[in-house]
């Protein structure tokens, strides 16, 4: 004899509903019919869900790539998800949350070097100026001496790369917030974004103002208490611990301010624009 064994051990109850219209009571189904019926319903639902899941995955995988703009090279729905996720997680951002710092002795002597994009072209150090372009087009040209005259901030922290590695490094320089205050750029700091570019314009990043004004964001000119070597962005580079390494631009040529997102090298290649930590 066949028997249905519901897992929760309850007995299968007969429906006791009586509709107002006096209907002929339905013939009770045989066990065999019940099994077939329940199998049919279950497998239809199971099949439909499987097809939906597979179809959904195919749709996502084959979804169009976004047009090249400020961001590029990501599937349209995935880019939407990245941007929405950014909004959700930016709520947790606070300038009171500081990156963990370490004693100097823990800093790496051989500081990892990943790429030379933007800092490999011919470069005349003597001609270097930090060009600041305000939103209204006004310009400042600042020398490295002007920056080095200001109080230095040292930072020994765990530098985190989007590729997965991290390394404790010791950088020194001028806090970006101090830079803003000293050069009278407070009104610019009320805008939403900061853009930075290398002198050869080959590498560029866009930063939200909140992250740029974080107390541990520095315009660095020292690595392990010595001037930054050329391959790490001599004479001045960005160190922003609340972002992945991709945002830590080497050799700053120009700084701009805007309410629109400035262009960003890796966001154009499909990475998250925010890339915050």
């Amino acid at each position: 004899m066949k028997r249905l064994q519901p897992f929760n051990q309850q007995k299968m109850k007969q429906p006791v509903k009586h509709s107002k219209k006096a209907r002929k009571p339905k013939k009770e189904l045989t066990i065999e019919q019940k099994i077939t019926r329940r199998n049919f319903i279950s497998f239809t639902i199971f099949g439909a869900l499987s097809v939906t899941a597979f179809g959904g995955w195919r749709w996502l995988y084959k979804s169009p790539i976004e047009p090249n703009g400020i961001t590029g090279n990501a599937h349209v729905p995935l880019r939407r998800a990245l941007n929405k996720t950014e909004l959700a997680f930016r709520k947790f951002f606070s300038n009171n949350h500081l990156v963990k710092t370490y004693p100097k002795s823990m800093a790496a002597k051989n500081v990892r070097h990943n790429t030379d994009i933007g800092s490999d072209s011919h470069f005349a150090l003597a001609d270097w100026r930090l060009n600041v372009v305000k939103a209204n087009g006004e310009k400042l040209a600042i020398t490295i001496e002007q920056i080095m005259d200001l109080p230095k901030t040292d930072l020994v922290f765990d530098f985190k790369c989007v590729e997965g590695w991290d390394q404790i490094q010791h950088w020194g320089g001028l806090r970006f917030a101090d830079f803003i205050n000293h050069f009278g750029l407070q009104d610019q700091a009320t805008l939403d974004y900061v853009g930075m570019e290398t002198p050869d314009k080959a590498y560029y990043v866009g930063l939200d103002m909140q992250s740029a004004m974080h107390p541990q964001t520095i315009l660095a000119y020292e690595l392990n208490e010595k001037p930054i070597p050329f391959n790490h962005g001599k004479p001045l580079r960005l160190i922003i611990p609340v972002k992945y390494g991709i945002k830590n631009l080497k050799r700053i040529g120009t700084i701009t301010f805007s309410n629109q997102r400035p262009h960003d090298y890796w966001a154009e290649q499909g990475y998250d624009y925010y890339s915050g930590l």
């Binding site: 004899m1 066949k2 279950s42 497998f43 880019r79 996720t85 990156v99």
Partner: protein, 201 residues
Amino acid sequence: MLIYWANDEYKITIFGHTYVRFFPDWYYNLLHIPQRLAEGMAFHFLFMWFFTLNGIFYVLYTIISGEWRELVPKKNSFKEAWLVLLHDLHIRKMAPPQNKYNAAQRIAYTAIIVMGVGSVITGLAIYKPVQFYYLTWICGGYHFARIIHFALTLGYVFFFIIHVVQVVLAGWNNFRSVVSGFEVINETPATIQSAKDETAG
């Protein structure tokens, strides 16, 4: 998981000799992975929502329905699970008695929830190590949290493979019961007389 494929960060090295490198070159080439970190991350940061919400709903369901009683290991589960393992490997003939799930399943299905919680916590710890610094601290720092997150991911792969193999081995009636929620039991009739009218039995 694609995130770990950008850079060979993880390897098992014992006394200076690297035994396993995550992942070997043939693995990257097989799956056409090089240069696709950004795409992998984009998928990851969409599906993290899906997996997390799915996990939350699943746990809520087991609590509300009372099904958790069938899933949580009992006192003797750990001892019994060993016997289940021996049975599954055809070393021991008898499997210990069970209700809906056997002891090994109870442990596995509870462990996977603990692993899921672990993945969410270590995930947040490495996703926003500055904002959620306390989570990063609980996980033993950024680097260690990353390793746990990675190890858990490998754990899911093993869980998945063993799980699918077990379902295939358990056969059709088991699979049907997984989908439909009931099991068909063919009872052997007690008397010879009644056996006559059973043809399907």
